[in-house]
């Protein structure tokens, strides 16, 4: 017999009014750790400041989506990996990768995450590369404005 019960048996008039919270703490901590691990994994692509607009449509997340990010310093990412340090510099690695991805799985949706501070011309040039690789469906990712 566990000694915990022995103590209760020896003092019958003593009543423990507090619930046993240890399992609750265990479950809460495990859930907390799960959410902490999942949260950073949800961010796809490079860290950019997305443009804010009033009522964008929701783009469903799919396995096949390809995320291309353009950062403020004009570096270009596919997924989480940087493929070019400057949009106007050496883009051969990016082009080769995009062509390869299109050859392997054509018709994928390309999501473009561009920084709000870049010029439209930069994004247009990036889209030219995407178009030249054979992709036709793009989604321009923005953030919903919380001002209104």
């Amino acid at each position: 017999m566990p000694s915990v019960f022995k103590r209760w048996q020896s003092e019958p008039p003593e009543v423990t009014s507090d619930p046993n919270v240890i399992p609750l703490i265990d479950v809460t901590l495990v859930l907390l750790i799960i959410f902490m691990v999942i949260t950073p994994m949800l961010q796809v692509g490079a860290a950019v400041q997305l443009p804010m607009t009033n009522n964008p449509e929701e783009i469903k997340r799919e396995e096949k989506q390809l995320t291309v990010s353009l950062r403020h310093d004009l570096s270009v990412y596919i997924g989480d990996t940087r493929y070019a340090t400057n949009l106007y510099g050496d883009m051969s690695k990016f082009e080769a990768k995009m062509k390869e991805l299109n050859a392997r799985n054509p018709g994928r949706q390309v999501l473009i995450k561009a920084d709000r501070r870049v010029k439209y011309g930069d994004v247009r040039n990036l889209m030219k590369y995407v178009q030249a690789s054979g992709f036709a469906n793009v989604g321009l990712i923005v953030d919903k404005s919380r001002r209104s």
């Binding site: 003593e14 423990t16 507090d18 919270v21 240890i22 609750l24 703490i25 809460t28 901590l29 859930l31 907390l32 959410f35 902490m36 999942i38 949260t39 949800l42 961010q43 443009p51 804010m52 607009t53 009033n54 009522n55 964008p56 449509e57 929701e58 783009i59 469903k60 997340r61 949706q109 999501l111 561009a114 920084d115 709000r116 501070r117 870049v118 010029k119 439209y120 011309g121 930069d122 994004v123 247009r124 889209m127 030219k128 995407v130 178009q131 030249a132 992709f135 036709a136 469906n137 793009v138 989604g139 321009l140 990712i141 923005v142 953030d143 919903k144």
Partner: protein, 161 residues
Amino acid sequence: MGIQVGGRRGGPMSDPNVIPFIDICLVLLIIFMIVVTVLIAQMGYLSKLPPRAQTQTPPPASEQIVIRVMAPCGPGQFASCRVFINREEVPMGQLLARIQQIMQGRSTQMIFFTADDDVNYENAMRILDVIRQGGARNIGILTEPISITASEPTGSPATVQ
């Protein structure tokens, strides 16, 4: 609110007080749950990149609608952006109404969108937002710069408020 496990008549209290700890853990859990649901929603504008051959010569047919954003339209200067529908300049305040009028009854028609290179990306997206709000569901993005000669800003009077 204090927990008094085992502390009878001045005896030593062997169990730590875990209630504040649980409180903090639960609050953190709720914060993470909210953050995850916010991050899962991915917002944006679905559009098409027309194949190369078409973009080099944008067909100026009357059916074709090309919306063009022109400089000056730097960061934070949304009000000074100039928007053209085909060759006609539309003041920012009337843009939504004009697009709704155009899209009436033909919501499947493709609208082409383009902007000058110097236009800030966020401003371009905000105009794309207005176009979508006006009912356009098929948005094509022109990747080659186009020149509509009749809409050169030098000749037309400024009508932007």
